[in-house]
């Protein structure tokens, strides 16, 4: 990665130490999170069983502390054994969480897959969309610690599908969050296809066996209802088998574009044409296929400026025997897969990646890549000896020069344990300035890993509140400058797989005590600049109203 290595080094920023500089401690039980995903598997090997489910960090009560939502499946009709629902955990601000699912009115039984969190009615409290096999559910946050299901009244009802990832974004820039939902394939329990790895036992199918299903785009009318603009916007595509989605302004025109990872189908990069329509430019951009021209099994996706170049790159996790794609923007809206050069390609070849996220684990100023791995079939080891069903996650530490190294084994034994990983999100739940990890497993527990820094690196965080823009400021870009170097973070919904990370953005500063300036590009088009900010705290920026340092993070 020649150009990445030619990037200006940030003077005085801590170089990546030979050790990771941080650990990930399993605090799941200690934090009071007792969750077990129910895939509903009873032996029928129905396709959706192997794909769930997602998770998210969100601050549903607006107290500045990140809460947790974990999506759950349920037993199949005719195979009912237990009642399982999603779980909402409220942050007790002391390292523990309380299960407030019932109190919040979220104990609704649904075959859930993914989650997207966004304040679609701009009332200051994030609302929740749960995607599912069947009918997706929209829960409006009342602001009093409870949620109201508004699926029907919002106009989202009556749409059966096999929805996966979803995200909130303001594609028409009217200050209201619109909703994009991925669909996987046309599937119903009655039409589940018999697939087998060993020609004897039924196993989970790859999506070739099913017909694709279009993604959906719902425009927010601003009155609490949504209009299905899938067809009108040109996003309709009945061949897509979508699993992951991310917002990316790939042409840097201020209008959010959409990146969709498709399973065994070409990935889609929908360019926002500013008139409510989108045009697929994935083939031209070089992101539709692998370098060999093959459509890979795209799962999770994340976008970030991982080489501090000022441009946004892309990571897409793929099936085993297919490498994770790491795409670098090379200008003119073209991406180049640098996975091999970066040291991620071969390392990811024998794992099946789902959730993925760019985050600065050791706060050295270079974004690392975290991938949750796990196969879809427990009999895979019989067929491919070097690939297991449970697989350890991979934490690719960025050395700041374009090379990545998997340090998962150095971060903690529980973290490095093989898991059937699916969903993945990050957030600073303990408000110590570094990023903690939430990870779900298929038909298994969810994990909360606390980030414990030993590097001594400092960080700075920003919480954005939109006024003209949508309240969550989703789509905003925050840039910080120091010593000739710059870093970029995006406020985003979606990304990863079925999951969503916290909305505040975190910059690792290495040994620096502060930054020269921060520039915020709001979704509304407004640009604000703030000078001389000290490290070690979170700043709350309200669009057009200035910046307020909080005490600590």
């Amino acid at each position: 990665m020649a150009s990445a290595s030619a990037l200006p080094r940030l003077d005085g920023w801590a170089p990546t130490s030979p050790t990771a500089g941080f650990g990930l401690v399993d605090v799941t039980l200690q934090a009071g999170i007792q969750f077990h995903h129910n895939s509903g598997a009873y032996g029928g090997k129905l396709l959706p069983e192997t794909l769930g489910s997602g998770c998210a960090f969100l601050d549903y009560d607006g107290d500045g502390w990140q809460d947790i939502i974990l999506i759950n499946g349920m037993d199949w009709p005719g195979h009912k054994r237990q009642r399982t629902t999603l779980r909402l955990y409220r942050n007790n601000r002391n390292g523990t969480f309380s299960d407030v699912t019932r109190k919040a009115g979220l104990d609704v039984e649904v075959y859930g897959m993914g989650v997207a969190v966004g304040d679609y009615n701009n009332d200051g409290f994030p609302d929740i969309l749960v995607t599912s096999v069947g009918q997706n559910r929209l829960f409006r946050n009342t602001g009093k610690g409870t949620f109201l299901e508004v699926t029907r009244s919002s106009g989202l009802a009556g749409r059966q599908g096999f929805s996966t990832s979803a995200l909130w974004f303001d594609f028409d820039r009217d200050g209201l969050l619109d909703l994009f939902v991925c669909n996987y394939v046309k599937w119903s329990p009655e039409h589940d296809v018999f697939c087998s790895l060993d020609a004897k036992h039924k196993s989970y199918c790859t999506p070739e066996a099913y017909r694709g299903e279009t993604c959906w785009l719902f425009r927010n009318r601003g009155d609490g209802t949504f209009e299905d603009v899938t067809a009108k916007s040109g996003l309709f595509d009945s061949s897509s088998k979508s699993l992951g989605a991310a917002i990316v302004d790939y042409d840097r025109d201020g209008w959010p574009d959409l990146l969709v990872a498709n399973d065994t189908q070409p990935n889609k990069l929908y360019r926002n044409m500013h008139d409510g329509t989108f045009k697929d430019v994935a083939v031209e951009a070089g992101i539709a296929f692998s370098a060999e021209g093959k459509a890979r099994a795209g799962m999770g996706v994340d976008v970030a400026d991982f080489n501090n170049s000022g441009t946004v790159g892309v990571a897409i996790t793929n099936f085993d025997n297919e490498m994770t794609g790491l795409y670098r923007a090379v200008g003119n809206g073209i991406y180049e897969d640098v996975s091999m050069q970066a040291g991620i390609g071969l390392a990811s070849k024998n794992s099946l990646g789902f959730g993925c996220a760019f985050l600065d684990g050791n706060l050295d100023g270079a974004l690392d890549l975290l991938v949750a791995n796990g196969h879809i079939d427990e009999t895979v080891r019989n067929i491919r000896g070097n690939v297991g069903y449970a697989q350890p996650p991979q934490f690719f530490l960025n050395d700041g020069k374009g090379k990545f190294r998997d340090v998962a084994s150095e971060l903690g034994t529980e973290f490095n344990q093989p898991k059937v990983g699916r969903g993945l999100a990050y957030g600073d739940f303990d408000r110590d300035g570094d990023l903690d990890i939430l990870m779900t497993t298929n038909n298994g527990p969810a994990f909360l890993f606390r980030n414990d820094q030993s590097s001594g690196n400092k960080s700075i965080r920003f919480r954005l509140v939109g006024t003209k823009s949508n309240h969550d400021a989703i789509g905003a870009a925050v840039r910080i400058f120091h010593g000739g170097g710059a870093q970029l973070r995006l406020v985003k919904s979606g990304s990863s797989y079925l999951s969503q990370s916290e909305l505040p953005v975190t910059f690792g500063l290495g040994r620096q005590d502060g930054i020269e300036r921060a520039v915020i590009n709001w979704p509304s088009g407004r640009v604000e600049e703030f000078k001389s900010l000290a490290a070690g705290r979170t700043y709350e920026c309200v669009e057009g109203k200035g910046i307020t340092p909080l005490t600590g993070f």
Partner: protein, 447 residues
């Protein structure tokens, strides 16, 4: 070095001819192979690679047509809540990919497809898209039913026809690929055949040249051996003539002149005794008598030097005992002489040859080496007699060119005795002459 004119032809011309033939065959074959390979490469580039790329584009076209088929099926299924116009973006995407694939395919298939074929495909596609546009127009105007009918009646049939046409092209492609493979195989067969021919020709050329070379070599060696034999005989004759001449002269000197001088001496002595004492005649007679006595001594000594009678009478060992001190006196070189081992008698010709070798070696020391000291070792080993003459002078190599006939004679003498002679360089410098002869040496014909 002896020069000679060999009987028969020199082998060089034959060898050069063989070499030229072989080289010509190799060059000709290389040219042939290069031509065949370039032909093969052309064939592979032009046909096989092109075909492969073309097939890939055809696959892409087929895939697009498939996608169109699936999209149309989805449209007819009517299980989406969207109007049929929703599919237009998807159709547009497939159309642009199809156009690109067709453009590439046409470039690749330029040699194979007839203009008519191309026209047929282009026309059917144009008709298809025309029908698609009409269908979407119907849908746009709210005539969904008519649009679906259009799909069922016209579009699906056209799509199937297109798919068949493309399949035909793919079959054609694979047929031409098979033909190319056949031609490639033929080329390989031809090349293989030529390899065998060249190999045989080269082997035959090498064989013939080798036979010729071996034969002429054998002849050369035979000639060399005969020459060597002749030379050896010549040298031996020379030596034996020299020895007999020397012996004859020595004997004549000793016997004839010795007798005469002895007689003259005693007569003079007698005449002196008879002449009056104190007379001048008596004094003169005594002087003449002394001269005769001296001359006798000199004649005897010369006779000894030419061929020591001692050699014939008392053998080698005694002769050396007498000879070496004499050389010391004559040349002024200090000779350290050692006898090692239990002596056994060495008489006759062997004694003569060993004596002559020693004489020549010491001559060389005196004349060429510049050394003032020499070592002579005579070793009586179990079945060998070894004579070593060593000096630490200027060395053998420095004056080898001057030794000429002396060295040859030494070698010949050693050979006559079935022994060996070596000229070595001792660690201290100078020359070491080592003669080894078997104990039961032949009493070879010297006389």
């Amino acid at each position: 070095m002896l020069r000679f004119h060999a009987p028969g032809r020199s082998p060089t011309a034959g060898l050069i001819l063989g070499l030229i033939i072989t080289l010509a065959a190799v060059v000709a074959y290389s040219w042939y192979i290069t031509r065949q390979i370039s032909g093969l490469r052309e064939l592979q580039n032009d046909l096989v690679d092109r075909n492969r790329k073309d097939s890939l584009q055809l696959l892409r076209i087929q895939n697009d047509l498939n996608s169109l088929g699936l999209a149309m099926r989805d449209m007819l299924d009517n299980d989406e809540p969207y109007p049929l116009t929703a599919w237009s973006a998807q159709f547009q995407r497939i159309r642009s990919d199809l156009d690109d694939a067709l453009r590439r395919e046409e470039q690749l298939a330029v040699a194979r497809q007839t203009p008519e074929q191309k026209q047929v495909l282009r026309n059917s596609l144009a008709q298809f898209w025309d029908a698609v546009d009409r269908m979407f127009l119907l849908a746009q105007n709210g005539k969904e039913k008519d649009a679906r009918a259009q799909i069922r009646l016209s579009l699906q049939a056209r799509q199937a026809a297109l798919s068949t046409a493309v399949s035909r092209l793919m079959v054609q492609n694979s047929e031409s690929e098979e033909q190319a493979a056949l031609r490639i195989r033929q080329i390989y067969d031809r090349v293989q055949h030529q390899v065998y021919v060249l190999l045989s020709a080269t082997l035959i050329a090498i064989f013939l040249t080798s036979v010729y070379l071996i034969r002429s070599n054998r002849r050369l060696f035979a000639q060399l051996a005969a020459l060597s034999e002749q030379r050896s005989e010549l040298a031996q004759k020379l030596i034996s003539t020299q020895e007999s001449t020397l012996r004859y002269i020595s004997r004549e000197l000793h016997d004839e002149f010795g007798q005469i001088l002895t007689a003259i001496g005693s007569m003079l002595s007698r005449a002196g005794n008879q002449s009056p004492e104190g007379s001048p005649i008596r004094t003169e007679l005594r002087e003449v008598c002394e001269i005769a006595q001296n001359t006798l001594e000199n004649v005897r000594s010369l006779s000894q030097a030419l061929h020591p009678v001692m050699l014939d009478e008392s053998g080698l060992e005694s002769t050396l005992d007498w000879y070496i001190p004499m050389v010391e006196r004559q040349t002024g070189i200090a000779i350290s002489y050692k006898k090692i081992g239990a002596p056994f008698p060495v008489n006759g010709n062997p004694a003569v040859h060993v004596y002559r070798v020693l004489q020549e070696a010491l001559n060389n020391v005196a004349r060429h080496s510049g050394a003032r000291e020499a070592l002579v070792r005579l070793q009586f080993l179990a079945d060998t007699l070894q004579l070593e003459v060593e000096d630490h002078g200027s060395g053998f190599v420095a004056h080898s060119s001057k030794q000429g006939i002396g060295l040859v004679a030494m070698r010949e003498r050693a050979e006559l005795l079935r022994g060996a002679i070596e000229f070595l360089k001792p660690p201290e410098g100078g020359t070491l002459v080592r003669l080894r002869i078997p104990r039961d040496m032949p009493d070879s014909h010297v006389t």
